[in-house]
């Protein structure tokens, strides 16, 4: 027996929840041995003790094998086993300044997609006093001053004033990170003229992301990277790292080719005789030029960034720079995006993740494209406002939760409950609290979906994954219903849940090859199957739309397809079935037709057949809308009245 332990802890430190998993190498592959989640206030060692204790009670030999010790002591294992960690970045606020309202809105949208909490002002509407207030506020961590690359008169005339105002603020607050985007870079000289007793901010140029990567990354490439397998190593950007690092790499004199070097240098771990835990000490991605590091460190830099139209799609270049400025390198959401890219390449499927947490949410999509499907195109958007209990709770957000809720609340009462949910995210998770949490989660996903039209226009993914603490205690069929309610695209797809929250920590593995090997072993454990979703479009209302026969390994079903409803057909996890559908009229289900036969796989919720409208049509009156939600919800959540 090797002395090297064949196990490690995968830890995800969220804002509300700490998730811990024990991953061990047994039976020739890496396996998820146990996992747990608890409020982030819980003592970590107590959590890890609990996991080891459970494994030890269930299978002592297994614990001895993976720990490579006879009679392993729990305390010693907690101290000795390696840890693979990812963390949520605490929300940070950026003040967006522009010469015109139009430009300000565009910049605010990009900053929001990069995960910042955003406050903004424009010189044509707000007076300099108000703008100064924004940038001097204690809780403002960064300033984005932007303009078109060739600013028109309405912006140009305000730029000197805005530049002087931001430069003055930067002198008053040296810790403030300043980003000059597009034509605002002309004001750079305002920051270099500081006197001998002022701190002189260092000017760092953050160029647009490597265009050669973009050229390979078609058809969708949003805040993205394209990556290839080891067989086709020609173009490989470091995928998913804080984007400013990428931008900085592009700005080095050596050029972008230098950037590709560190991505896959570690030799892959041998997973047979002597498995080794992933390289946990190395950062996820090395970058030759260090840009300002967020979270507590001081930013004495002025960053020159691309304008709001650069990149494909427009704004993605600036979004990358801002994301790099905000996020830490081991951030959970970026880790999820990296893991999803690896999974897409591994499984050769399109994968979409919707993650909702207390500090924000993430929507990302990755799919293998190109010759031999060896290139992955992916995009991700992490938004602070996609939290289920946002810090900046606006009336619009409260109304959105109210519109998804099956309980009638007045606005103030709902506001109080949402704010208490933020301060105590694990509180009242049952009964009415569960319904409120579900409504808040749906409102958060709705914001996320609205902010990612470039993902929404894509076809239904092969696998859709729900992730994040908000789904942790929700029944699987209800999670599946929420996904069907919110991401409405015709097609057939599998639904899964990252129950053990492994995607984030696995995304922290530095080496892409190693991460992919680890995921290959763990994919069945990472993705808890919720079921399959069949979602046709173009169903006519008012009469039976046709029939569906589900032929499974152990049972068959025959369903009359009634428009406007959603059904769950029992299909346990691990089983597959064939669904044959005969529609009266032609519908869209990937392709347009009347007869379809698709392979579906089971899950905890079974097979979901959704014949509701795309997009959903709901009554205007609030009480009728609540009744409609409730009828759909009750069909999937029979325990609701317990």
């Amino acid at each position: 027996m090797s002395r090297q332990p064949r196990a490690f802890f995968a830890l995800d430190f969220g804002a509300a929840t700490t998730s811990a998993a024990l991953v061990g190498h047994a039976g020739g592959r890496w396996r998820l041995l146990a996992h747990t989640a608890a409020p982030s206030t819980t003592d970590l060692d107590a959590l890890l003790f609990g996991i080891l204790d459970r494994v030890g009670k269930a299978d002592r030999e297994l614990l001895e094998f993976v720990s490579a010790r006879e009679r392993p002591g729990t305390a010693a294992l907690v101290a000795d086993l390696a840890r693979l960690e990812s963390r949520s970045s605490p929300p940070r606020r950026i003040a967006v300044l522009a010469g015109s309202k139009r430009q300000r809105r565009r910049l605010e949208e990009i900053a929001s997609r990069a995960g910042w909490l955003v406050v903004g002002g424009s010189a044509d509407v707000d007076d300099p006093l108000e703008l100064s207030r924004l940038v001097l506020a204690w809780d403002t961590h960064a300033v984005l001053l932007g303009a078109d690359s060739s600013p028109a008169g309405d912006e140009k005339r305000h730029l000197p004033m805005l530049g002087a105002l931001v430069a003055a603020a930067a002198r008053r607050r040296p810790e403030l990170a300043v980003v000059l985007a597009g034509g605002a870079a002309i004001q750079e000289s305002d920051f270099s003229g500081a006197g001998e007793h002022d701190r002189i901010p260092e000017v760092v140029k953050a160029a647009a992301p490597d265009s050669s990567a973009e050229s390979d990354a078609t058809p969708v490439d949003v805040a993205t990277s394209a990556e290839t397998t080891e067989e086709a190593p020609a173009v490989e950007t470091a995928p998913g790292e804080p984007a400013a690092e990428q931008a900085a790499v592009g700005a080095t004199p050596e050029g972008p080719s230098e950037a590709t070097a560190p991505a896959a240098t570690t030799a892959p771990a041998a997973t047979t005789a002597a498995p080794r835990a992933p390289d946990l000490a190395a950062p996820a991605h090395a970058a030759p030029v260090e840009l300002p590091v967020p979270s507590g460190d001081r930013h004495d830099s002025v960053l020159l960034a691309p304008d709001a139209e650069s990149g494909q799609p427009a704004g993605s270049a600036l979004q990358q720079v801002l994301e790099g400025l905000r996020a830490r390198s081991d951030e959970s959401r970026l880790g999820i995006a990296r893991s999803v890219r690896s999974l897409a390449l591994l499984l050769d499927k399109s994968i979409e993740v919707i993650e909702v947490g207390l500090d924000g949410g993430l929507r990302c999509r990755a799919e293998a494209v190109g010759p031999g499907h060896r290139t992955v195109v992916s995009s991700h958007v992490a938004m602070a406002s996609a939290s289920f209990a946002p810090e900046d709770l606006s009336d619009e957000m409260i109304d959105a939760v109210s519109s998804w809720s099956t309980i009638a609340f007045d606005r103030y009462r709902l506001s109080d409950r949402l704010r208490d949910l933020r301060s105590s995210p694990w509180g009242e998770a049952d009964g009415e609290g569960a319904l409120l949490r579900l409504a808040a989660a749906k409102a958060a996903v709705e914001r996320l979906v609205a902010a990612t039209p470039e993902i929404s226009v894509r076809e239904m993914p092969d696998i859709m994954i729900a992730a994040g603490g908000v789904w942790a205690s929700t029944p699987p069929s209800v999670v599946a219903l929420a996904m069907a309610d919110l991401v409405r695209r015709p097609g057939v797809g599998r639904l899964a849940c990252d129950q053990a929250r492994l995607l984030g920590p696995l995304g922290a593995i530095a080496d892409e090859e190693e991460r992919r090997k680890m995921l290959k072993d763990l994919v069945e454990d990472v993705l808890l199957p919720l079921g399959s979703l069949i979602l046709p479009a173009g169903i006519r209302q008012g009469r039976s739309a046709g029939r569906m026969r589900v032929t499974g390994e152990t049972s068959n079903s025959d369903i009359d397809l009634q428009p406007g409803g959603i059904w769950a057909v029992e299909l346990p996890p691990g089983q597959t079935a064939t669904a044959d559908m005969d529609f009266r009229d032609a519908v869209r289900l990937g392709a347009r037709g009347r007869h379809f036969s698709v392979e579906v796989s089971g899950g905890l919720g079974g097979l979901f057949v959704d014949l509701r409208d795309i997009p959903l049509r709901l009554p205007d009156k609030a009480d009728q809308k609540r009744a409609t939600w409730e009828s759909w919800q009750r069909a999937m959540w029979s325990e609701i009245d317990e």
Binding site: P128, S132, A167, R172, G193, A194, S423
Partner: protein, 375 residues
């Protein structure tokens, strides 16, 4: 429960059974917290880092009606080419005046800026802080009405910057709260008799002028209005609704617009926004401190006690409180872990057996809905 009180210093946390550590702990007191007092453009600090301040000492001067002013050219004006950051402190105001202009520097308008024109008889004191300079011309945030900001408590200044704010390390200890509204303030602690855990509005009379009143589980908008009218300095309640906070903010806005300024008024919600009674150990602590000078701090929400030693309630180590859910606000003793339990709506959560109040039998409550107190 009727927690006994005894005087002692800072208590050490007793050994806690492992299952109890899964219940989130709530610290009753924090020692020497750092608090912030936010300032804006036009406001200046009157203290400097490292300086010791006492309660009631002026620490800042706020411009009540700041406007954007085009100052024009100033002597020695360069684009930030000067010494210091513009903060000289109150004592160094003479040197401050001799320093070249810098962003954030205190500025008093010259004759042409003092409002001497044909329609006005007397000069206006137009003063504020410099904002920025373009082509040698300076702009400022300035006004002619100013008010002193007094330190709500004693402590040591950690950071002080014009237009930005003051960070201060408090000398004493504080009770953390969840929500705050209004402004930092101070007064003597008044713990009136509560009826069913609530304070009647009629109890808020002129006799409590200058007090910070403990108001029970919830404070209404009417009570806040009445308290301000009676010159009460602040209120402390178990919870504070968003509607009441909005009313208070609107009332403060009107107050700022008025010429006659009133003493600062602050309000604290110890547990959050939804109605809950004040936790018995905290109520016992407040009762023991009645009559002492305390301060309400809004960033972060704290009730600061200007003392180092306080009589801490003596609690059994298995004493827990339900902070959310159907039993919210009730307290009792933790009996045992109940493992994973199926709750309403089929939700499975880790649970504990708790004997609440005088109940004969145990109640199963989700661990995440409980809190235990850390002294």
């Amino acid at each position: 429960m009727s927690p006994k009180t005894r005087a002692r210093g800072r208590a050490e946390a007793p050994d806690v059974p492992p299952e109890l550590t899964r219940i989130p702990g709530r610290r009753i007191l924090v020692v020497s917290p750092v608090v912030q007092i936010r300032l804006g453009p036009g406001d200046r600090v009157l203290v400097s880092p490292g300086q010791k301040v006492t309660a009631g000492m002026p620490i800042a001067e706020r411009t009540c009606d700041p406007e954007f002013i085009d100052v024009g050219r100033l002597n020695g004006a360069t684009n930030g080419n000067g010494k210091g950051n513009g903060e000289g402190g109150w004592k160094g105001s003479q040197q401050e005046r001799r320093r070249p202009p810098l962003p954030g520097k205190w500025w008093v308008g010259g004759d042409d800026r003092r409002g001497r024109n044909a329609r006005r008889e007397g000069p206006r004191r137009l003063a504020g802080t410099l904002l920025y300079e373009i082509n040698g011309r300076w702009s400022a945030a300035a006004g002619d009405r100013h008010e002193k900001v007094e330190s709500p408590t004693s402590g040591v200044i950690v950071e002080a910057a014009n237009c930005i704010g003051i960070a201060m390390k408090v000398t004493g200890i504080a009770i953390p709260a969840a929500v705050a509204g209004g402004q930092p303030t101070r007064g003597y602690l008044d713990v009136p008799r509560l009826v069913d855990g609530e304070l009647r509005d009629t109890a808020l009379d002129m006799g409590r002028s200058g007090a910070i009143v403990v108001a029970g589980g919830r404070v209404s908008a009417e009570a806040l209005t009445r308290a301000r009218a009676m010159s009460i300095r602040g209120m402390v309640a178990g919870s504070l609704g968003q509607a009441e906070l909005r009313d208070l903010a609107a009332s403060e806005g009107r107050q700022r617009a008025a010429l006659h300024s009133m003493p600062p008024f602050g309000v604290l919600g110890l547990d959050g926004h939804q109605r809950r009674p004040i936790a018995s150990p905290i109520l016992a602590l407040l009762a023991a401190l009645a009559g002492r000078e305390v301060a309400i701090i809004t960033e972060p929400p704290l009730l600061v006690l200007d003392v180092v030693d306080v009589p801490l309630p003596e609690l059994p180590r298995d004493w827990v409180r339900v902070r959310s859910g159907t039993h919210a606000g009730r307290e009792g003793r933790w009996l045992s872990s109940a493992g994973l339990h199926r709750f309403r709506a089929g939700i499975h959560l880790e649970a504990a057996n708790v004997r609440l109040g005088d109940d004969l039998g145990p109640t199963i409550i989700a661990v995440a809905d409980l809190e235990r107190f850390i002294l």
